[in-house]
């Protein structure tokens, strides 16, 4: 468990941060979409992250052998939820989806907030890549003991 545990933990974070970037890209792509999959205007999606419980074989084994508890098995995506904040109402009577008063419900996507989320996910990704590189160099240093 111990030798590659650090890499597994960082890898779980890379997966999670990459999904956050994917969801931000989807939000940005659909910032003007008035007809989503369900026919209603697109709603901003958000990734919910949670701590991953050590349920892998290695974690269970090390816990059973008294090698400490199995805390810190990385991160996982709990789900992707829709942002339920109100949709933006834009006056555009010529729009095919305008209501009787001439207002169109536009997605509740704030492009500036999405860009900030994108940068946050990108920086978190980089931090975890650094942690992975540190783990890699630690392993190769340990292997030097054999020389």
């Amino acid at each position: 468990m111990s030798l590659f545990g650090g890499l597994d933990i960082s890898a779980s974070a890379l997966t999670a941060e990459r999904l956050r970037m994917d969801v931000v890209a989807e939000n940005l792509a659909n910032a003007q979409t008035t007809r989503g999959a369900d026919g209603n205007p697109y709603r901003r999606k958000e990734v919910v992250l949670q701590e991953r419980a050590g349920s892998s074989f290695g974690a269970s084994l090390s816990a059973a052998m008294g090698g400490g508890n199995s805390k810190g098995a990385g991160v996982e995506v709990a789900g992707i939820v829709e942002d339920q904040t109100p949709l933006k109402r834009v006056y555009d009577p010529g729009h095919p989806d305008a209501d009787a008063d001439g207002y169109v419900s536009m997605p509740n996507v704030d492009t500036v907030a999405e860009m900030v989320d994108l940068i946050g996910a990108q920086r978190a990704y980089e931090a975890n890549v650094t942690a992975m590189q540190a783990a890699k160099s630690m392993f190769s240093k340990t292997l030097e003991l054999l020389r």
Binding site: S2, L3, G5, G6, I9, S10, S12, A13, A16, E17, R20, L49, Q50, E51, G66, G67, G68, N69, K71, G72, A73, G74, V75, G120, A121, R123, A124, A127, N128, T130, A131, M132, A134, A135, S137, M138, K141, T142, E144, L145, R147
Partner: protein, 121 residues
């Protein structure tokens, strides 16, 4: 006895640094998890108390275990209650990797001394 207490302590500190790296990597992995409480492995403290046992320190070093514990002293750095400061975690990670490297190099040098004493180095 071929390997003395110091060599054993070096081996255990290499293992402890590995465990601490896992804890710090888990903190970085959960940098965006709401309400996450950072964990840390105090392998210095565990090793120091094992080393301080005098005659029994060898057995104590053998049986010392490193387990991650929640860091209750860390204050929340984010509005969602998370106590992970990415900069501080990165700094600790880098320092820990250097400590690991130092322990490996000293252990390597000591093995080299043994080898030349045996005439195989």
């Amino acid at each position: 006895m071929l390997f003395d207490t110091t060599q054993l302590a070096l081996e255990r500190s290499i293992e402890g640094a590995g465990k601490r790296h896992e804890a710090l990597a888990a903190n970085l992995a959960n940098a965006n998890t709401p309400g996450y409480q950072r964990v840390d492995v105090d392998f210095h403290g565990a090793l120091a108390s094992a080393m301080g046992r005098g005659e029994e320190s060898r057995e104590a070093l053998h049986s010392v275990s490193f387990s991650p514990a929640q860091d209750a002293s860390a204050g929340a750095v984010r509005a969602d209650g998370s106590t992970v400061d990415v900069d501080a975690e990165s700094a600790k990670l880098a320092a820990n990797a250097l400590e690991h490297q130092a322990a490996v190099q000293v252990a390597h040098a000591r093995i080299g001394i043994l080898k030349s004493a045996m005439g195989v180095g």
